[in-house]
Symmetry: C2
């Protein structure tokens, strides 16, 4: 488990302490006081952090969250629940699910080495608000 570079650490810390997924330009705005001035500096750090599995990209939202799993390695099997009302995102850590999907084989004979799953719905709070 390698150490993070300066920019990577700054950006990871910000994402890690955020209760919600952060977007690249929101990150940029928040780290400008720490010397990171350009979008590319943010995107490069994000790319690296995704690559080493410290963060995940929520594809449907173009936003990033810190990995919730203690064994934070290269992420080949990711699943998230997303509340369509409050936009809260939670990483799903369910071994039954990951076993099922990791071993899933479709009839096309393709060999999968990675997947990303996003569930959408209403979280408990938002369900009760609407009732």
């Amino acid at each position: 488990m390698q150490n993070l570079s300066k920019n990577q650490q700054i950006i990871f810390d910000l994402i890690d302490k955020s209760p919600e997924p952060l977007k690249a330009y929101s990150i940029l705005f928040n780290v400008q006081k720490r010397g990171i001035k350009a979008p590319l500096q943010v995107y490069r750090a994000l790319d690296k952090l995704v690559e080493i599995g410290k963060i995940h990209k929520i594809e449907s939202r173009n936003a990033f969250i810190a990995c919730q799993n203690s064994s934070c390695q290269i992420s080949k099997a990711t699943a998230f629940s997303i509340c369509e009302s409050c936009e809260k995102v939670t990483e799903i850590n369910n071994s039954n699910l990951s076993k099922y999907l990791t071993s899933f084989k479709d009839k096309n004979g393709m060999k999968y080495n990675k997947y990303n799953l996003e569930f959408f719905g209403l979280c408990k709070k938002c369900v009760s608000k609407k009732s």
Copy 2:
């Protein structure tokens, strides 16, 4: 099953006959000769086509493909296989998988009404090329 409007039909036809996912501005370029001149015209048609389930958005690619299922309704349960080499995308239509995911409940008690799953790997052709 409602009829499509003029712009929706033009854009659906283009996507439907494409062997690969199409991006919004590639669509725009291709339909300009048919009178669709502005990005917003494309995005509005895409939004509607996604909403009624005629096409799907491949989130990791920002691209759109026609629904492969004959029962082309509002799409609450989508799964795709994506070749990371040739970028071929195929919709997965596997009842075991969709049953498993539709009935999936996580410990957070959230009620899901939709999911999107993207598998990544190498398709048969690309596997044999690399061997």
